[in-house]
């Protein structure tokens, strides 16, 4: 039983089933829209979890990469005449490249210092989107042309539900591959003892960089999807609050658990919708619930509940 739950591919199958079955349960397109948003945010958080939960390195600037993806599919077709799908790829590669260049110096830092450095990185990227109004439309943002793949124009919730859903399944599959591979073992080793990893021959800086670049690419793809789906992008997508939201989703769902990333994203996307019944007290309730979850499930929702299950099944 324990083996079964420890299998990193379990979440891939579970996600695939959820993506296939949810449309049968969710009748209105409003619910389908929520599910689509959950998939898109999950994608970003699964990537961030590889960095935070596995390699043990914090990033408070991941919305910067999300924003790069989001603006790539806006600026590419609008100003540069690049087709959307190519702009999406370029956004992902560009985010990866920027992560590679910035990551080299800042991943030497640890703990709070790394947190502040990544925070600065995120603020810097958001500032560029805010100030380069000729390209980005400034604080008001810009419209995003619809994705056009081989003559098929992708629009509407149904289409994006499937694109985001299938992408999330692929994203969890890649994450599971990494976790089960020597790279995944190395990242977890770095998380537990950097010095031990080093004397075993691990180039620690290199592996932190791999996790950082990988997580940036996940975030950029998710950003592109959101802005293509919404048809609009503003600098808030790259902003500080968005970064914090990603970290909160990862921590709330459970660091080091891919399934936790999806649960964390789902909770923080769905809960505000549900809590609208509290009207003016909506944010108070959200904050309170987050505190309660962290107090009673300190390792995050999924690892804490999995721990309870494991104790019950010998």
């Amino acid at each position: 039983m324990r083996r079964f739950f420890a299998n990193p591919y379990l979440v891939v199958v579970a996600t695939a089933l959820a993506v296939l079955l949810l449309p049968l349960l969710l009748e209105s397109s409003f619910y389908l829209r929520i599910a689509t948003l959950v998939f898109i945010f999950s994608l970003a958080v699964v990537g961030l979890n590889l960095l935070m939960g596995f390699a043990g390195q914090v990033s408070l600037g991941h919305a910067g990469f999300f924003g790069i993806g989001a603006y790539a599919v806006a600026i590419g077709p609008t100003s540069l005449g690049v087709p959307s799908w190519l702009a999406l790829l370029a956004g992902a590669l560009g985010a990866g490249l920027i992560a590679f260049v910035i990551g080299r110096p800042i991943l030497r830092l640890r703990g709070h210092y790394l947190a502040v450095a990544t925070l600065g990185m995120g603020l810097l990227i958001a500032m560029v989107f805010n100030n380069e109004a000729a390209w980005t439309g400034g604080p008001d943002g810009m419209l995003v042309p619809q994705l056009d793949v081989a003559g098929w124009t992708v629009h509407g919730t149904h289409a994006w539900y499937w694109i985001a859903g299938v992408s999330l399944v692929i994203g969890t599959w890649i994450a599971a591959n990494v976790i089960a591979s020597p790279t995944g073992r190395t990242l977890r080793a770095i998380h537990d003892s950097e010095v031990a990893a080093r004397v075993l021959g691990v180039d620690v800086a290199h592996y932190k960089l791999i996790a950082f670049v990988l997580s940036a690419i996940y975030a950029a793809v998710a950003g592109s999807y959101l802005s293509l789906y919404d048809g609009l992008v503003t600098p808030t997508e790259a902003g500080f609050l968005r970064s914090i939201e990603f970290v909160t989703m990862a921590v709330l769902g459970g660091l080091g658990s891919v399934f936790g990333s999806i649960v964390g994203a789902a909770v923080l996307v769905v809960l505000p919708q549900v809590l609208t019944v509290f009207q003016d007290y909506e944010h108070i309730m959200l904050g309170l619930m987050m505190i309660v979850v962290m107090v009673f499930l300190p390792t995050g929702i999924v690892p804490a509940l999995a721990g309870v299950l494991q104790r019950r099944t010998p």
């Binding site: 020597p182 080793a189 998380h191 537990d192 031990a196 990893a197 004397v199 075993l200 021959g201 691990v202």
Partner: protein, 262 residues
């Protein structure tokens, strides 16, 4: 033939001399012990040799090549591995996974192949697992392979660190107090294990406080006191050395006397 040579190593921290003019050479298959009172600089010496601290003076040669100031992971590639006095275990991984991380240098590290879980990665995982299981068997942890490292008893963790270091296939293995905190039975086991390792041709450099263990298995012993070499030789030579006796007993005895006299 020398596999590890340390030549006139010196390092100081903020004016405090931690090591000065320390030299020795170790041969393949030899068990070489470094002893000395607390604060003699034994662990600092290990940190210098394994690349954690770059020395301010002197040279470290591995297999004839100057490797002074090389990064730890580069030294590991060249055949040097170590364990830690204050256990550096990957606590959230299983015992088996700990040993598997030790195979890092012997695995193909193509990240794209890992992302896509190509069949070659799966085959390699199986090879790594088999080798790690073999090493856990060697150190007597085969039955605990699946357990989370964080839940293992202290003596098992000491042996797990040795298995993990062996997984790198080192030429030189530095063991920093492998028997610290172990009961007499566990110490005996580690004693036998060290001899088995040395018999395969690996040079074992040992820092240890358990004198019985040191005197029994070491071919040569190097004695440090306050960062300086005060003696080197076989157990008998070191045991009879006046400087060593003073370092271990003399000052202590003098302090005791002074204390008694008020």
């Amino acid at each position: 033939m020398t596999v590890l040579a340390v030549d006139r190593i010196g390092i100081s921290f903020g004016g405090v001399v931690a090591l000065a003019d320390v030299s020795f050479a170790v041969e393949p298959g030899e068990i070489f012990a470094i002893i000395g009172p607390n604060g003699a600089g034994k662990t600092t010496l290990f940190n210098v040799i394994s690349g954690l601290y770059p020395p301010q003076q002197g040279e470290v040669r591995l297999d004839g090549a100057d490797v002074t100031g090389f990064a730890p992971h580069t030294l590991a590639r060249r055949g040097l591995s170590r364990t830690f006095q204050n256990l550096q275990i990957f606590f959230r991984m299983s015992a088996l996974e700990n040993a598997m991380v030790g195979r890092h240098l012997h695995e193909r590290r193509n990240v794209v192949a890992h992302l896509l879980a190509l069949p070659s990665v799966l085959r390699q995982n199986a090879e790594t697992r088999a080798k790690a299981e073999e090493l856990l068997g060697l150190v007597g942890l085969a039955e605990l392979a699946g357990r989370a490292a964080g839940s293992l008893p202290y003596g098992a963790l000491r042996r797990l660190e040795i298995a993990r270091a062996l997984a790198t296939e080192p030429k030189v293995l530095l063991l920093d107090e492998p028997a610290a905190g172990c009961n007499p039975v566990e110490t005996e086991e580690i004693d036998a294990l060290i001899q088995t390792i040395a018999a395969t041709g690996i040079a074992v450099v040992l820092v240890e406080h358990d004198m019985k263990l040191v005197m029994k298995i070491s071919k040569r012993i190097h004695v440090l006191d306050q960062g300086r070499t005060i003696a080197e030789g076989t157990a008998d030579i070191v045991r009879g050395n006046a400087g060593v006796i003073t370092a271990y007993l003399g000052r202590h005895a003098q302090r005791e006397t002074a204390h008694a006299q008020g």
